[in-house]
Symmetry: C2
Subunit: 289 residues, 2 copies
């Protein structure tokens, strides 16, 4: 099309994609272009605002590296990640709900046995975690991989430190009755990394960067949908204003604090410690709706 103007440009862009052989890509891009153009028209985006947008995205790109994923943070803080998670994880009400993966998952976490301390030196009050993995009909799921990762008492994940590898992060397998248990540290509320473009965006929008305390879980059982979720700590002040919109009521649990004394694993604790017990219910692939 030769005489492009404000009114015909959307049609011109769609026409240019008419030779696309990947039908799904075509569908996605048609919708993306239409909404992108509708946004620009609706707010009558100015040239200087467009340039600010280009600079913002350039900044997001330049701070992103193997340890920091600012595009995921951007998606998380705009609610896109949680929207995608929820619309792709519709399950029977009895199943454990999913929530966002977040930007701090990394491959290659160490393997542990049940009962091991996965904190691996991370700072925080001891926390003993236990639970059970079962299917929708209550069937116990043994020998299933559970991956867990969490922040320390200062609110940082291992990957946020320059020289720390694999603290508060590990993989273990359920016992034959579906149960698992490990020792770690108490997760605390923390702000998402906010010294970059996304942090400046939140500040400009009058938003805080905090997330309520939580443990991340990724449970993979053959024949069942993989479950990526959190367990949140009841009473946290940010449960109603999670910066990434990841809280579901069914995932909020009492983490029980105990005075110094005998821990669940029989050891004597000189400090206060916490316990947390949570059962996960997986959705069989056959019943996927």
């Amino acid at each position: 099309m030769r005489n492009i103007n404000e009114d015909n440009i959307t049609q011109a862009v769609l026409a240019a994609m008419s030779g696309c052989r990947d039908k799904r890509l075509w569908t996605v891009m048609v919708s993306l272009v239409q909404h992108l153009h509708s946004f620009a028209r609706e707010v009558k985006l100015t040239e200087s605002e467009w340039l600010e947008g280009i600079k913002f995205l350039t900044g997001v790109g330049h701070i992103t590296d193997e340890r920091r994923q600012e595009f995921v943070l951007l998606s998380d803080t705009l609610g896109l990640s949680m929207l995608v998670t929820t619309q792709n994880n519709q399950k029977p009400a009895e199943c454990t709900e999913a929530t966002v993966l977040g930007p701090f998952f990394v491959n290659g976490a160490p393997e542990y046995e049940n009962g091991d301390d996965i904190s691996n030196g991370a700072k925080g009050l001891p926390c003993f975690v236990s639970g059970r993995v079962c299917g929708l009909s209550g069937e116990p799921l043994g020998d299933v991989e559970i991956e867990v990762w969490q922040s320390d008492e200062d609110g940082y994940y291992d990957v946020q430190y320059a020289d720390v590898a694999f603290q508060g992060r590990g993989r273990l397998r359920t016992l034959s009755d579906g149960r698992f248990h490990f020792r770690s540290i108490l997760a605390e509320a923390y702000p998402i990394p906010h010294d970059g473009p996304v942090g400046r965006m939140l500040e400009a929008l009058g938003r805080h960067p905090w997330r309520p305390a939580h443990l991340h879980f990724w449970i993979k059982a053959p024949g069942y949908e993989p479950l990526i979720t959190h367990v949140f700590r009841n009473g946290d002040q940010y449960l109603d204003s999670d910066a990434v919109f990841g809280v579901r009521s069914s995932l909020v649990v009492d983490w029980v604090d105990h005075p110094p004394g005998i821990a669940p694993d029989g050891t004597h604790m000189d400090t206060a410690f916490y316990t947390l017990d949570y059962d996960f219910v997986l959705n069989p692939v056959e019943q996927h709706q």
Copy 2:
């Protein structure tokens, strides 16, 4: 909001921005979030597609540096740049129309006198460019800055070479009667940089990366709206399928080819050469609509 799901998440994100003190930013972001979420719902974006999007944007960010702006290329190829240009440059019909700035403008281009050769060694057949700058009522605009930039015969701008500075790029000023003239080289059609994520996107969409031959102009006259535009070469095979949707019919002009002989500046040319004459009409700021 604590129990986030597919239906309430958009409202939750908008509610989180209710403390924004910048009303314009708030307006822009409300529309952006609504369209972003509508897009994800409309196509039922999957988690793997979301991850592909994150990886794509990460790649766009990582290839972008001081000499290459892949986010501008992305905006250009999705028609966003031209939409923003057109909706912000509504003028009386007699005025010269605007088009996209493109990713190859750089600050600090050298100053030239009328008659100078701005190619500065860039390769291509000689091209003698002339024209006049006037206001909406025909008033000549003298001593006005004209900035011009263009690709060479291989389709590359100076900034696309590792070690070349300021070829086919310069600033000059109109004479008292509004006229200007300079020597350069013949601009040719060229593909936008397509060895990165945007090039792979175009290929997946069945689109070519070519732009029809053009000269870029940026004209700044006090009391008039700045004009950022191109002059396109009539007959180019890509006038109807510009990869960045920048063609307006009023900007397509005959570039006249001449056999070897006397050039407009009186010199004898041993090779064929081209001439191009185009007049620019600027919109007074007072009559801005």
